[in-house]
Symmetry: C2
Subunit: 342 residues, 2 copies
């Protein structure tokens, strides 16, 4: 469809605009080393590219700016995969330098470092606790009327819930219940706990426990796991330094979105494995109109665990960001696989 020359021009326009944030004119293009033809020729080609929807003018006599379609084409076909420099690699690897046992710390550090390296906003979706397998349940009475239930998973994740414990429940029953739960539920994924309690343990509990009904509901209730995994951010304010965000209204909209975690999930979830690029309105979100989101998944073994993402302006350094995410997600996956898949 597009001639080689048009491709070249499109690529140079996108590259230049990503660098400078200024509309690109035919004259400045013609001066580039890669380009050997005159500005008039470029103007003709640009007119064609514009007609095809790959580039746009900001006003009648301005230079050209990539359209979303242009970025999309650029990302899909023109991206020259950038090799990370040693410094970047060292910095990323520093995430794993310390002996860290907790997911969260690693994840958090990843978010911080990603945003520092890119100057964009990073979003890391932590591992879904619901996949973890239960290791131990503990119930500890606090007062006459309340107790705290603690759930430890095989990955070392600890969940806890304080709940109302009617004084009518006696200690030995509680103990028995906990024993039964531990016996029967160890190794079960958190998300399946509730189901399993009702389906398989109801009978058993009924046999042994006096206050069976109350007990079951109380515990099952407190087991309603949070629907969403934890999100970590880095560089929330980095977008404020991007020249495209001079408008406070836009900024407010964007920051407001970032501060509403529940609005972020739909953006970064449900992405297939590997790198995923969503440009501008592809994100189906008005606050993201001038933003692109690049996501990558990380796993333990073959099981997808979470997502790391970079949120930047559509005029984002796609090549660099993709390389960084690829590298980090690979590292994360291998470190986590080593650590937890034994």
């Amino acid at each position: 469809m597009l001639t080689d020359r048009q491709l070249l021009i499109l690529q140079v326009i996108v590259d230049d605009f990503i660098r400078s944030a200024q509309p690109v004119g035919s004259r400045s293009l013609s001066k580039k080393d890669e380009i050997s033809f005159s500005s008039a020729t470029i103007r003709n080609e640009m007119a064609d590219l514009e007609e095809l929807g790959y580039i746009e003018k900001t006003h009648t006599s301005s230079g050209r700016v990539p359209s979303e379609k242009g970025y999309r084409y650029y990302v899909d076909h023109l991206l020259s995969p950038q090799v990370l420099n040693k410094q970047d690699i060292t910095i990323i690897q520093s995430i794993f330098a310390e002996r860290i046992f907790e997911f969260e710390k690693i994840i958090q550090k990843s978010a911080k470092i990603l945003s520092d390296l890119t100057n964009y906003t990073s979003i890391v979706l932590g591992p879904a606790a619901s996949f973890n397998k239960l290791k131990r349940i503990q119930i500890i009475p606090l007062s006459k009327e309340s107790a705290v239930a603690i759930f430890v998973t095989d990955s070392g994740h600890v969940e806890n819930r304080t709940f109302y414990l009617p004084p009518t429940v006696d200690a030995s029953d509680l103990e028995k219940t906990v024993n039964i739960l531990n016996e029967r539920l160890t190794g079960v994924a958190l998300e399946d706990l509730n189901d399993k309690i009702y389906k398989e343990l109801a009978m058993l509990l009924r046999q042994h426990i006096r206050n069976y009904d109350l007990m079951m509901h109380t515990i099952a209730d407190s087991l309603k796991m949070p629907a969403n995994e934890k999100l970590f951010f880095g560089g929330k304010t980095n977008m404020l330094s991007q020249p495209e965000f001079h408008d406070i209204g836009k900024i407010r909209e964007l920051l407001q979105m970032i501060d509403h975690e529940e609005w972020i999930y739909p953006l970064i979830k449900n992405d297939s494995a590997g790198i995923n690029v969503k440009i501008g309105r592809e994100n189906k979100n008005s606050a993201m109109e001038n933003c692109s989101l690049i996501t990558a998944t990380y796993s333990v073994g073959t099981e997808k665990l979470g997502t790391i993402a970079i949120l930047g302006p559509t005029r984002m350094e796609y090549s660099r960001v993709i390389s960084l995410l690829q590298f980090l997600s690979k590292d994360l996956t291998s470190v986590l696989t080593n650590l937890y898949q034994k």
Copy 2:
């Protein structure tokens, strides 16, 4: 020092400016009901007030704007305590409507509601976990090399740490240790644990445990509690709607500060009990130059637990915010006292 008329004028200027965000001129002042003298008189008085440093001009021929000193005087002497309307009271009390067992939920909801009611940013400093008394320690091995230690406090707060557990430590020793810890440390404040372990338990452990040294250090290490209490925010982006923040640089500075929790602590800690107002540069923080911070403390019984604060522009509705904070902190204190002081 100041005449009654000067006080009146200062008060009306501050009130008006808080409402309109526009410099106040002598003519518009003279039209107010409260004011019965001519604009020329007002001009004379304003000149005096300016000389004394209570008000300022933005340029030679502009109306007047309160200075920090002016706000300070206003807050200290001219504030007409505002009575909260019923709606506000209802909304605040809705925080406690549900039966909630966890501090965090209450605190979080308080932050949200405060920012909604004021349209400023709210900051709530959660209760210092370190004051809580230990209820139970549990150590649960995860793999050959790691285990998680769980600390439950009498308030239902759960802390956990994953740590490296050398394979050389055997199970019975671990159990013995945990038993000893529980026996000796229950009721001790979290912040004193470390001390107590080294001073009082070292001997005891040495007698019973083979790998005593290693064990002790591992556990004591994982007991290093986070130095700071948790912070909760509401309305982080509210400041973006304030007309004084049209400058992106200023906004960035402010938001950046808000996102660095460690920079927030010094601002809201170390305040004496009760309401505390810091205006502009009184906060000793360049990002806060045009902001005021109003804080209030809440307690259980007589023990100060945490702080609730509102961050707004210096042109803030002091009267309303102070009333809200007073009311909420009183409610928080009484609810928490009922809940936990038994």
